[in-house]
Subunit: 354 residues, 4 copies
Amino acid sequence: MMGKLLKISIFGESHGEGVGLILEGFPAGIKVDHDLIRSNLARRAGGNDLFSTPRKESDDIRFVSGIFEGYTTGAPICILIPNENTRSGDYAQLKSRMRPNHSDYTAQAKYHGYNDYRGGGHFSGRLTTALVAGGALAIQYLSEQGIKVGGHIFNIGEAYDDPFPLNPDFSLINKDFPVLNTDAGEQMKEEINHARMNLGSVGGSVEVAVTGVPVGIGEPFFDSVESILSHWYFSIPAVKAVEFGLGMEFAESLGSEVSDSMYYEGDKVLTKTNNCGGICGGITNGMPIKAILTFKPTSSIAQKQQSVNLETKENITLEVKGRHDPCIVKRAVPVVESVTALALLDLYMEGKCR
Amino acid sequence: MMGKLLKISIFGESHGEGVGLILEGFPAGIKVDHDLIRSNLARRAGGNDLFSTPRKESDDIRFVSGIFEGYTTGAPICILIPNENTRSGDYAQLKSRMRPNHSDYTAQAKYHGYNDYRGGGHFSGRLTTALVAGGALAIQYLSEQGIKVGGHIFNIGEAYDDPFPLNPDFSLINKDFPVLNTDAGEQMKEEINHARMNLGSVGGSVEVAVTGVPVGIGEPFFDSVESILSHWYFSIPAVKAVEFGLGMEFAESLGSEVSDSMYYEGDKVLTKTNNCGGICGGITNGMPIKAILTFKPTSSIAQKQQSVNLETKENITLEVKGRHDPCIVKRAVPVVESVTALALLDLYMEGKCR
Amino acid sequence: MMGKLLKISIFGESHGEGVGLILEGFPAGIKVDHDLIRSNLARRAGGNDLFSTPRKESDDIRFVSGIFEGYTTGAPICILIPNENTRSGDYAQLKSRMRPNHSDYTAQAKYHGYNDYRGGGHFSGRLTTALVAGGALAIQYLSEQGIKVGGHIFNIGEAYDDPFPLNPDFSLINKDFPVLNTDAGEQMKEEINHARMNLGSVGGSVEVAVTGVPVGIGEPFFDSVESILSHWYFSIPAVKAVEFGLGMEFAESLGSEVSDSMYYEGDKVLTKTNNCGGICGGITNGMPIKAILTFKPTSSIAQKQQSVNLETKENITLEVKGRHDPCIVKRAVPVVESVTALALLDLYMEGKCR
Amino acid sequence: MMGKLLKISIFGESHGEGVGLILEGFPAGIKVDHDLIRSNLARRAGGNDLFSTPRKESDDIRFVSGIFEGYTTGAPICILIPNENTRSGDYAQLKSRMRPNHSDYTAQAKYHGYNDYRGGGHFSGRLTTALVAGGALAIQYLSEQGIKVGGHIFNIGEAYDDPFPLNPDFSLINKDFPVLNTDAGEQMKEEINHARMNLGSVGGSVEVAVTGVPVGIGEPFFDSVESILSHWYFSIPAVKAVEFGLGMEFAESLGSEVSDSMYYEGDKVLTKTNNCGGICGGITNGMPIKAILTFKPTSSIAQKQQSVNLETKENITLEVKGRHDPCIVKRAVPVVESVTALALLDLYMEGKCR
């Protein structure tokens, strides 16, 4: 469960009946934009091109509750995305044969062997489908308040996109392959192809930004915008680093170099640079929020890995069969946007209550 | 408020009566180790050397509740650390003159000018004193379970310490200046001196590790170990990036390069490398937890900065007077350790309940 | 959302796709007892006799997630109970014509008319089906620890059952009509018949007890057993009073009259009476927990009531058509048991963690 | 910890350094009304007359944080009420000798003997002082929105006050002895005197009402107004029953008898009676909220009681020495009002956020 005023519970398994979530506390009277949901789910779905998993997911979603005559009712919204096209046979061997850097071993240890191990079970990236479906509602709500969320691939392997400028224009993000610089995008595709040809995988990162953010969003200390966003971000499978604004670069910086000069533009206080990523003291300053999330390369690879067999208690060599992503970063972009919107909407609503 | 079974509420202001916290749900029957508390507070306190703020804080702490005859009672523990040696005059000008990259502007906007602006008020790093005091109890409890937490400065500016080895030995951390490599420590001091001489500040990072962690700590999805730890970490003022294991390096890695080979040592499953930082699928795998936190350089610097005066609504040039840290990274080490212990204790207790 | 370690989110509407809930944090490795679930759902279902609503609900339940090969996995359990046999036409007129003492008006006002008004929508007693399904898992878990939950109708109108004795034996509760004293049960049926004949409804109460409770369950102050149980109890539609132990009778009592004399039986501390209902200072003392919940008479009655039409803004006379319960108390018994088990399991797990 | 947007943590012990609480999330910019706080604390304090404990408490309160220049800052408010005039000697014998119907035994069992047993420790009614101090801020805030909270003694033993009328006027409550009917008050005093003369105690109840409540406060299901209020109410030591509106009387009522006829007065929907206590479907309908709380008689009485000695493991006869209340109901009135305001403010703020 996550959230304070907008509470999200997520459920489901990769090879079970389906995945889904419950959104408690979503405002009433919002007309559901099914096109946006479909479009974001399509961006997340694999199977569209060579750069993702060949598992096709049609991602039909069902609103089980909380929607009436096309509008949100204020009651909890249950979204259910049935699974289909699952091939459990691919994974059966994995009950005892652990994939390194995966939840196989930790989940089995934690749940004493009762976990649904098929395709990662509850720990599968498949669950992010639910976040995208629910996140679309948050994106839509925020958008009506003038708050826009956008993301692009920041890097894959050694291929780097341009960073967002001071004031990002999300319409400039390439539709087919979400980068700002299409040349960089071509290099990224090569990195992915290279990994796939070698039966391997490659990591990368996503930059996300939010524009139109009012000043004063975020709560002191534990509910700082960074704390809340990072809590969400690290829930996305494979995320291993989160940075805001300059992020890690701050570690090698002098205070004078990274000071965001403040100035008045009319009645509005702006900054000339945005090293702090739109968040000062944990609270938004009105400049765009900016964050970068690092995704580790998929651990399900067909290359040989050294591992263990929990049943026989032997060391083994593992080659993971099945349909896998050489790189999940492209598919992660709408997930990062969705999660950003859900987190921010909760803080936004809290900002209205006092 | 933070935590589920161990709930922490933090309060106080830099120049008010004091700072403190409440620990709800801390187990009964733990003998309070006042030496550990004092020692950790001393590590956090400024004024000891040239590398920190000249503001001396004696940090006398008072257990207002929850301790009886030297032991925790199971009732909420209120820790109060009275303020002393505050010079509010230093800050009075800051009511209207905003320090860039600081909470001055965001807090004033959020609270319509009612915030206590003196020394950053509730947004001051001073509040971390309370975390260190409370964290010492968590460190002590975990230590009795064989779980140890240790941190060191990883870098300051361009001076980098050695990273923790596969199995960290915290007794090797230098006592006076917390690094593994004392030569690196000398270079760091130079970076700090350089910043101080220029009336500026410099950023850096802290590496923290936890050893003796049982397999299976952490809860699925939103309560992954990374999610919970990062939520806490980003609550520490000035933290702008958090990485687990290889962290950002994953973005340029191939899956095959970063696979943590698993093997049996007796009945125990271990990994030959620890790129995932002891956390797979959000759950501990028994290897040491490892994280790196990046701290931005202090924004209170005496160098000229461009800013605004909220009262006159004019653009101004600001030189921040007062006692400031050229680098907070050294003092942050016990804070990071304390927060790690508090977060982990909560997850550890949850791991026992089912 | 309710609960700390065992988090429950409930969703659904009376005339939508279905109702359900998510159980987060339920322990892994529990074999699902489908017979218990079916049996409890049957006790809650209407349509079995003359004493309940003629709306028949087959209450097929689907475990969408969290169950694998018949056992709980530790991952969130989503239970979905599809709706069937809904006759929305019965309710269409109620969009503008408010039933007194019902959520019709408050929900419409709160949600600006976007609420699903059919059959009470999210405010329908239908949602308790989900609580019964999820509660069966909690009952089963507790039962394996020797903790038993049982309830009976305490009164309907002026017909009163015997109260539970000091040490209740739940096997003595009548199966068909849940009372201890079958004569009292006959009188209750007459009360219900009388109400039905008059196109009206009648209120009543349920007594619930828990045996085998360990000493020391419950947390101080806000998480007292009474606080947590009552929070759950008042979530059950139509509950308007909750008493523990002697309850309201305490108000006319002298301290000396109601003192529960304590004594040793072997090593065990017992009390000769149980006026405090097994809870002292908010914490269990090892004696049975006892509570009584009062249910108001159903507000959907066919008798004439004075009300308002929100559309025409006129005062009106209302006769509620449709299938209604003359008395919900009998059907409420398994709901009260289920909710008691869910609440107690959460506190029980918390008791194990420190 | 209690609350969602307004989070309250309570701490302290009867004979420790003091008691207090933290209010997180209280709105900024509210001028603290010290007279109201003092006046409400005085109403709660014992020692004023023959009808309460002779222990005098001056109840000086200290705002440790969250207040600046007389106004709330938006940061967490820590209120500390130091203890004084404690005579621990009175209680020393109680370490091993358990008072029946008290937390003595349950706390010792739960905390393995580490609890502060002096005067009930953390389980003492003394902690309600903190609720009254914090509640005064909530009362003040609500009052500025036109929402008023008032309570009176409803009964003590067999002496009953008049109930609140349909629209309560709190100015009619007697100041010295909070009843509506002063004759009833005189009878109550006799009940108390009678109990005191016999070295005993007597129970009673408090009726509380809230006027000026907007329609639509409260959240569906688990966060119904009744659920939230009762959670708070049962946290008050000695409360054993909570009723809303007609409460227990509903159990003997017919639906037609208790239907609250609705009608338009201008544009406003009102009801002719208020059996539902201003709450329908868990949500406020704009009529006054009404609740009755039953307090059990104090268990600390000087009369002989049968009990146990936990050290010697023997059955004993106990006569509790020390200063005790023959009846706590009068002192409970401001506590009930305070808690009502805190609970309601949280729900009120939530009502503004969507």
